[in-house]
């Protein structure tokens, strides 16, 4: 079944100094043939990659298919954010964009970020919330 791999998983996979067990855990997640990217995850990851690491990181993410971005993403993510704030939570804007793409395609999100659980409380978002391996 298709799944969006959140930036939190990607960052922990390739980040210098990432603990060995976390690196193994995230590698297994990303190697899933059903894993997908979306534009906000690509943006969040690649905008922070230093020049010397850029080519290899871009080569790595190029091996993962991208879910299309819905035309009404900004509007629907805004409404999703308003549902969250009405329920007392304030997830980061980028999380709302990623979550909305998951909702649009009916695809779950695999993440280490608990904000997605807050979003799931006010929507039908499916979240595979993981604890980092130790």
């Amino acid at each position: 079944m298709a799944v969006i791999i959140d930036s939190s998983v990607w960052v922990d996979c390739v980040r210098t100094g990432s603990p060995e067990p976390v690196r193994r855990q995230t590698k297994a997640i990303i190697m899933d043939p059903d894993s997908f990217l979306c534009e906000p995850v690509l943006f969040e990851l690649l905008r922070a990659v230093p020049k010397r690491d850029r080519a290899r990181t871009e080569a790595l993410v190029a091996t993962v298919p991208i879910l299309s971005t819905p035309a009404d993403l900004w509007t629907s993510a805004r409404i999703l954010g308003q549902k969250c704030i009405d329920a007392g939570s304030l997830p980061p804007g980028i999380d709302l964009l990623i979550a909305q793409i998951g909702l649009h395609h009916k695809v779950p999100i695999t993440t280490f970020d608990s904000h997605f659980q807050q979003i799931a409380k006010v929507s039908s978002l499916q979240v595979n919330f993981l604890m980092r391996a130790k």
């Binding site: 100094g17 590698k27 190697m31 290899r56 790595l60 879910l67 980028i94 280490f112």
Partner: protein, 140 residues
């Protein structure tokens, strides 16, 4: 229904010669159209080849032939059935092309991730928590 996914680096696999009955001659080479009715499937793959072409050939058609080449693969009926089912493609060539490209992408992904796991390279990134706290306008 086709999947709503966008695959980068994937060229449109539909042939401009769908339904045509002849091939094309470019620089003295004959490019036959996909054989139908058998399991000899012409797989379109990227391979730039310099070619001098006759001026009467449509440039869009030319681009297709110059930037791709065909190879023949043999698969059994049973394998072909499985391939079509797995890829949800209706056309044999497109199904095999999709399968081959997906396998290639997975292989590349594994190689790069193996290098990361072996410590051959990594990226100087801040933790995700720091990446996501760069614009906390509403948090005081």
């Amino acid at each position: 229904m086709r999947s709503p996914l966008v695959h980068r680096s994937r060229k449109d696999s539909s042939s401009p010669f769908s339904g045509s009955t002849t091939g094309l001659i470019v620089s003295g080479r004959y490019f036959p159209r996909t054989t139908r009715g058998t399991n000899h499937i012409s797989l379109i793959i990227s391979a730039a080849s310099p070619a001098v072409v006759s001026c009467f050939v449509d440039t869009d058609v030319l681009q297709y032939y110059i930037s791709t080449m065909k190879v023949t693969v043999e698969v059994s009926d049973e394998e072909l059935k499985d391939i079509l089912k797995a890829t949800r493609e209706k056309r044999k060539g497109a199904a095999i092309r999709q399968l081959a490209l997906e396998a290639l992408m997975l292989k590349k992904r594994r190689e790069l991730l193996d290098e990361v796991e072996a410590g051959k390279w990594s990226v100087d990134l801040p933790p995700i928590e720091r990446l996501r706290e760069d614009r906390n306008l509403w948090r005081s």
